[in-house]
């Protein structure tokens, strides 16, 4: 029995909703998964009655809700990915679940890093901002060549300061 094996129906649901491969195994043959967990018989019976389609929809909605929140922090990045945004986020989101009250900023930062690693485009000015939001730094100066100003891509220096815990940002445009 793995050390972090769930010991309640809620724990089992959390694992099923967050782990696609395990969920697939459970849907195909629940009896191959249930013995991995130390659940009371009544809770095992309850889980055996779950509907596969509902389990998958609930899991998909969690990813959609995360993407919706992330899009508030990195809208240009998400827009730039176009129709691939959901699939790319889905691929990333299965492997990482943020866990602080700043989870949406953290998720946005991690997703940008995932895109960078995989060679997909992301907006540098947005990444700089969420990276600062997630740090404990009091100030930062960063460069981004892709800030959008009046509908045009513009190079900027971003000055970010944390005042009374709230990040503030000023952008200085660099004219070519």
């Amino acid at each position: 029995m793995p050390l972090d094996a769930p010991d309640s129906a809620v724990g089992a649901l959390a694992v099923l909703l967050s782990d696609r491969d395990l969920r697939q195994r459970f849907v195909e043959n629940p009896l191959s998964v249930l013995p991995l967990w130390s659940l009371p018989e009544s809770e095992q019976k309850m889980l055996l009655q779950l509907r596969a389609d509902q389990l998958n929809i609930q899991a998909a909605i969690l990813i959609r809700k995360r993407l919706r929140e992330v899009a508030k922090w990195i809208p240009l990045t998400i827009e730039g990915l176009g129709a691939d945004a959901y699939a790319l986020f889905d691929q990333y989101a299965e492997c990482y679940w943020p866990h602080t009250h700043r989870r949406h900023q953290e998720d946005a930062k991690r997703f940008c890093e995932h895109l960078k690693t995989k060679g997909y485009p992301y907006n540098r000015s947005e990444y700089n901002r969420v990276r600062f939001e997630n740090s404990s730094r009091r100030c930062a100066v960063t460069y981004a060549g892709d800030a959008w100003v009046h509908g045009r891509k513009t190079a900027v220096l971003q000055f970010m300061v944390r005042r009374k815990q709230q990040p503030q940002e000023w952008r200085f445009y660099i004219r070519a």
Partner: protein
């Protein structure tokens, strides 16, 4: 411990307000007459005490939590609870609210609300956690029904669970009319019959926002204008029980302030509430 009944001492009635969101900050801070009460989300203020100070005193406040995960077996996350309590002390709300749900368990934090099994064991757990929250905050607690696409076969129905939870924990219900409606469409039940199984005395506050419908599946997207059937259902709820406040809970695709003002006025008109009725 403060219970919902004690909260009647500071009772407000027939107040319509909004959930505080950053894009609406300027409008909310200008204190428009249409907003009679304000709901603030605890997690938004864990790192922002200054904005909280600006809001305090301008409106009757309600504090709403998203991540305490009252439905998770085991003790509440004490660090998270203390952050919640800290915001509560600063805001001094009329009451605090959370969800009949779980968001995390063990090492997995799903970040959003998920259903819990409606069983005796979960009921006992929710009662304990609700009482702990009320005691820690020294405020009345009300709990909200959620949407779920996943039906977990339990030993109690949702209304039975809600009624017994409110009775045993001494808490009230924050009835999300949109969530109830969305569930009724996805799980094919009559939402009015569902409502009439709930003890009317426990319903204290309502949430409302438009739903999304994609290929016949209904979602609590929090991104749409309020649909007419939700106004109608809200009317039914208000005829059924004494609601103290209604909060328009828009999170995404947030429109200009005048659209929200229109929704507040439509609610007032539809319910026969006037601004003078608000206390």
């Amino acid at each position: 411990m403060t219970t919902v009944n004690e909260s009647n001492a500071v009772k407000i009635s027939q107040c319509i307000g909004v959930g505080y969101r950053r894009p609406l900050a300027q409008w909310i801070l200008s204190r428009p007459a249409e907003i009679q009460c304000l709901e603030i989300t605890a997690e938004h203020f864990f790192d922002d005490p200054d904005t909280l100070q600006l809001l305090k005193g301008r409106y009757p406040l309600m504090l709403h939590g998203l991540g305490l995960s009252l439905g998770t077996p085991g003790p509440l996350d004490q660090t998270y609870l203390q952050q919640f309590v800290h915001v509560c002390r600063q805001a001094d709300p009329l009451w605090v609210s959370e969800h009949i749900a779980f968001t995390r368990s063990g090492h997995v934090d799903l970040g959003h609300l998920n259903p819990i099994p409606y069983t005796e064991a979960t009921l006992a757990l929710m009662v304990d956690h609700t009482q702990e929250l009320a005691q820690a905050c020294d405020k009345p607690v009300i709990l909200e029904n959620i949407t779920s696409h996943l039906h977990i076969p339990g030993t109690l129905t949702e209304p039975e669970f809600i009624n017994r939870l409110c009775e045993k924990a001494g808490c009230g219900l924050l009835l999300d009319v949109t969530n109830a409606y969305v569930n009724s469409r996805n799980h094919n039940f009559d939402v009015r019959q569902w409502l009439h199984q709930i003890n009317p005395d426990v319903i204290q506050q309502l949430h409302i926002v438009g739903y999304a419908n994609e290929q016949g599946v209904f979602y609590d997207s929090h991104s749409q204008d309020i649909q007419w059937e939700l106004y109608e259902f809200t009317q039914t709820v208000v005829e059924y029980c004494q609601v103290q406040s209604i909060i328009i809970e828009r999170d995404n695709n947030i429109p200009a302030a005048d659209q929200i003002q229109t929704e507040i006025l439509q609610l007032q008109q539809c319910l026969g509430w006037t601004q003078n009725d608000a206390a």
